[in-house]
Symmetry: C2
Subunit: 224 residues, 2 copies
DNA sequence: AATTGTGAAGGAGTTCACAGCC
DNA sequence: GGCTGTGAACTCCTTCACAATT
């Protein structure tokens, strides 16, 4: 590793590595010792130890040979890479069943994401208080995004409304969209879009559930 | 392709292919024509046309050269492969914010999954009616799973309770677990376990959100 | 002695490009 | 002519194995 620090922080990480870093972060957060070996980190994350070392080597040489990795230092480095150094503001668009639950879901706050706004088109939902937030009308999206510094959005509208909502978010300057609607949404390249389709997840699971008896493959693996 | 039908249905599909089949299924369900080309299917799914053809070739030769694929026939073949030929019974373990929302979430029913039971340990939650179901006490899990023929479970407990709940599910004979708790759960090889960690998804998104301005990579892609 | 960091080998998944078929 | 099915090339990811380092 002859790369300068500046290069390391600019270089893009392999996609597969990025997908595992949050898992390492979770293991590190639960760690009790001040130091952890690639072996132990790998066991907690459910991957190969060489994988861990290669992944971490992409961030720079942060381990100590013969000793391991300093937990809190590693947490800082990974957080920095992932853009989690400061709290990030999240908005939720579409306050149906799923949106409603996500507004109140504590898991995000615990990881440095702050849900600061919720939007809906339904006049019966708008104005209601959900998890300490007042649901805003969809028309105020741009205004509120600006006002509250929203950086990420969770898209929990029906599939039919997803693209229009995504367009409005892009227009308003939101740079990252996590789309829960069972539909592909298009966005310009500067906006990161990621799809989480619960139906798809269940269908994949269904396949492995029916296959599991014929072949001993365990699946609780890094996100595919 | 010289493989017999029997072999095709027994052979394991590449993991990456399995992850895309549900996406194809979604596109096919929305299709208006009776026939679809790999080009169009690929466009709808957001992948390469050669990818589609290779994926589908793993199921057998179901296309017609010069014409394309018969939509309804393809839907049947994919559904069969994924083990979706009949409605599959789903239970939800842990009726907190997320579990509550998933019980009422319509997206599952629309895709052939029937939510037939919900469980919780909290006596204040047990007995309540949620989305047409009465929340059962956790102790009745084995009994109700048996009684209602539950095949899949959504695990929406806190992380600290996830492993114990998974153990109970395995013990009760549930073959597939979709784990929403931010913790890895262990299970015997005959049980398929799949992890959906919303915090992890947001953290991955956060990385690409911060990188997006420096490099035009769109992400709304098939799971890597 | 223990553990990292990494070149090299191996494996999986993707894309190309075109023969084969309708 | 149009589109599928697939060998071959290519790219990406994983694992091995061991030198380097503390």
């Amino acid at each position: 590793m002859r790369v300068l620090f500046a290069d390391v922080s600019l270089s893009r990480l392999p996609e597969a590595t990025v997908a595992r870093l949050p898992v390492y972060l979770r293991v590190l957060t639960d760690a009790t010792e001040a130091t952890i070996s690639s072996d132990n980190l790998a066991a907690g994350a459910g991957v190969n130890a060489a994988q861990v070392r290669k992944d971490l080597s992409h961030l720079g040489s942060y381990g100590t040979r013969g000793v391991g990795y300093d937990v809190s230092y590693l947490v800082r480095q990974i957080s920095r890479q992932l853009g989690l150094s400061s709290d990030r503001r999240v908005a939720i668009v579409g306050v149906g069943n799923l949106g409603h639950a996500l507004v109140r879901y504590g898991g995000f706050n615990a990881r440095g994401f702050r849900v600061v706004a919720a939007f809906d088109v339904d006049p019966r939902t708008v104005g209601q208080q959900v998890g300490g937030l007042v649901v805003e009308p969809f028309e105020r999206l741009a205004e509120v995004v600006e006002e509250k510094g929203v950086e990420l959005a969770l898209l929990t509208t029906p599939a039919s409304a997803a693209q229009a909502a995504a367009d409005a978010l892009v227009e308003a300057g939101v740079g990252s969209i996590l789309n829960f609607a069972p539909a592909r949404v298009a966005a310009p390249p500067r906006v990161a879009v990621r799809q989480v389709d619960l139906g798809v997840e269940l269908q994949i699971l269904s396949y492995y559930g029916t296959q599991a008896s014929t072949d001993p493959v365990d699946l609780d693996a890094a996100p595919g």
